[in-house]
């Protein structure tokens, strides 16, 4: 009997996984190994599987994902630094039949955009916030973020974050979970196959809950910034597990009452 060769297997009918066509066919602008790319892919897989491309409007932040609109094959608005939730508020209120999401980094969401984030959550706007927490300002070259861990080094805290003078890392996800306006608040990661799959499920739930007018769904993705952390991608994922996850534990923080 013939041995099955690679050529026998690599046929369209045997395809089990390929990059979704809702990600534009171009190279992503992210550093090698950066979790932004995986997060984008899961987001677009969910939009593809839900069949909501024509009903979805995204808001890109200022941060490494400022160019997200180059990669996502949907209508996207690019917001000023931190203002994405304000844009999304108006989009969703003016077009309630649309699926609306923001995609924001930790500097964008938890520093300059804290007011917009908290108030959109408090008003219970019916959109999804995807929050990429890499504990650093990736885009501008690795400065301290509100989420930078105690003693963690960054270019503006070269001796490590001194909590005496710079405060403790802001757990904004736990904070917004206390607001009645949020319906689903969860913390995920995208560095292992299992975590990626969980993130995808979380994103799908988030879109469904917020579309069902339950309020804001916030999916935090604890992610790496190997460039900012000055590590290899593989090292950064390990460092993330050992250092970020104890402070930012993964899992659901809030689920809708019926669950």
């Amino acid at each position: 009997m013939a041995v099955i060769t690679r050529e026998d297997i690599i046929k369209p009918e045997n395809l089990v996984y390929k990059r979704t066509s809702l990600l534009v066919d171009c190279a992503l602008s992210y550093c090698p190994g950066c979790g932004h790319g995986t997060a984008h892919r899961m987001l677009m897989e969910v939009i593809e599987e839900m069949g909501i491309q024509s009903k979805t409007i995204g808001v890109a932040p200022v941060g490494c994902s400022v160019l997200a609109y180059e990669f996502l094959d949907i209508d996207v608005q690019q917001a000023a630094h931190g203002r994405a939730p304000a844009l999304a508020t108006a989009i969703k209120r003016l077009m309630p039949e649309k699926y609306v999401f923001t995609y924001q980094g930790d500097g964008d969401l938890a520093a300059i955009g804290t007011a917009e984030t908290i108030h959109a959550c408090n008003r219970g706007e019916n959109f999804v916030i995807i929050f990429i927490n890499n504990g650093i300002y990736g885009m501008t070259g690795g400065q301290m973020a509100p989420t930078t861990l105690p003693h963690m080094r960054a270019s503006t805290c070269p001796y490590g974050r001194d909590t005496e003078t710079m405060g403790n890392p802001l757990k904004i996800t736990e904070l917004v979970a206390t607001l009645p306006g949020t319906c689903y608040v969860t913390r995920q990661a995208v560095h292992t196959p299992g975590n990626v799959r969980k993130t995808k499920k979380a994103l799908r739930k988030a879109f469904e809950y917020s579309y069902a007018k339950k309020g804001v769904s916030l999916v935090e993705i604890v992610s790496n910034c190997n460039s900012g952390w000055k590590m290899t991608p593989v090292q950064s994922n390990k460092w993330m597990e050992e250092n970020m996850f104890p402070y930012y534990p993964l899992g659901d923080i809030k689920v809708p009452a019926a669950e």
Binding site: Y69, L72, D75, A79, A80, A90, L94
Partner: protein, 361 residues
């Protein structure tokens, strides 16, 4: 049917927006314009026309809501007063860069800083010369009556969508708080989703349907050559506005030997001054710019060949006077008379200053 009502300027502007088919208003309280948000909340247009009215957490959020709504091809607007308008400058610059239509109403109060809640025209520079960062212009309309407050909302939306550029209505507490008879426009229905797709489907984020490429609203262009090209494209719009959108009004200019130039509430006071001066035998006229950008440079330039001198009257230390001087280009003497800090010039002191600064003696 047109409707006559006695209204405050701030109320008229709010009612006009409902009638103009506005889709969304986003505001934050600040004196002397809080009646706009209050009026809208009391009228509940979301139950009638479907217009969204939202009290935002700040002026920053409010203007960014306008940005989000405008990006969907919707008629959105916001209002504030000077300190709040300073906060909105980020969003205004982004709107100009992303070529978004929308109206920003500034009911100006005296400044700098927290200043005073009394009327002022000290935000002329901010409104006409940029205000936010980057090379851009706003189309600036300066109403001088409650009627114009109402009229400039539909006009503002027309211009904003025609040029895909933000429009500012620059007014002050005098007009905002003043009660006058106003003829309200008839109701224009809000655009349907289909109408928006038809009109703005080539740029607005209404959801990417299979028949078109995705629409992206962004002001980010990292490539310098492309950024320059974009700014040059914006410049063409500004040139078109300068050619086609200049609006002004003249009053007793036919035989005028001297000219007052004033906008908004100050122009109304100047009308009185013209009468007083003429009663004294001084032939004075008044030119009132209605658009502050584009500025009525040509009519002022032409009047410079007719009159012996001009007095620019403003509620500031001298801002529009710079544009008048540029228009006159040294041909005749141009002086400024201003009150500031919330003080309103009176017609007699304007005449006195015309005599002392321009006519002589």
């Amino acid at each position: 049917m047109k409707e006559l009502r006695l209204m405050k300027g701030n109320e008229a502007i709010a009612e006009a927006a409902i009638r103009a088919g506005a889709d969304g208003y986003f505001g934050y309280p600040i004196t002397p314009q809080s009646e706009i948000l209050e009026y809208l909340m009391a009228e509940k247009p979301y139950e009638t026309t479907g217009m969204v009215v939202l009290q935002a957490e700040s002026e920053v959020a409010a203007i960014n809501m306008v940005y989000g709504g405008a990006s969907c091809g919707k008629k959105c607007w916001t209002s504030s007063s000077s300190p709040g308008i300073s906060l909105k400058q980020e969003g205004i610059s982004y709107m100009a860069g992303s070529e978004l239509p929308g109206i920003i109403v500034n009911v100006v109060r005296g400044g700098p800083g927290l200043g005073t809640i009394q009327p002022s025209q000290a935000d002329y520079f901010q409104a006409t010369k940029g205000g936010g960062h980057g090379d851009y212009r706003l189309l600036v309309l300066a109403p001088a009556s409650v009627q114009e407050m109402a009229d400039f909302i539909p006009l503002g939306f027309d211009l904003a969508f025609k040029y895909r550029n933000p429009v500012m209505i620059l007014t002050d507490g005098v007009i905002g708080q003043m009660m006058e008879k106003v003829e309200l426009p008839e109701f224009t229905p809000r655009w349907t989703e289909e109408e928006i797709v038809k009109m703005s489907g080539d740029w607005a984020t209404t959801g990417k349907t299979p028949d078109r490429e995705r629409n992206i609203i962004s002001s980010l262009i990292l490539d310098s050559a492309k950024q320059e090209k974009h700014v040059k494209k914006l410049e063409l719009k500004y040139k078109a506005m300068e050619a086609d959108e200049v609006r002004y009004e003249t009053f007793q200019c036919e035989d005028a030997e001297y000219l007052l130039v004033a906008f908004g509430s100050t122009a109304r006071i100047c009308q009185k001054s013209v009468d007083i001066a003429r009663a004294k035998g001084i032939k004075v006229g008044l030119l009132r710019p209605i658009t502050l950008y584009p500025f009525p440079t040509i009519p002022i330039h032409e009047l410079a060949s007719q009159v012996k001198g001009m007095l620019v009257v403003e509620m500031n230390l001298g801002q529009m006077v710079e544009d008048v001087r540029l228009a006159v280009n040294g041909k005749v003497q141009v002086e400024h008379f201003g009150r500031c800090g919330g003080m309103i010039p009176n017609p007699d002191e304007i005449v006195k200053n015309l005599v002392s600064k321009i006519i002589g003696g």
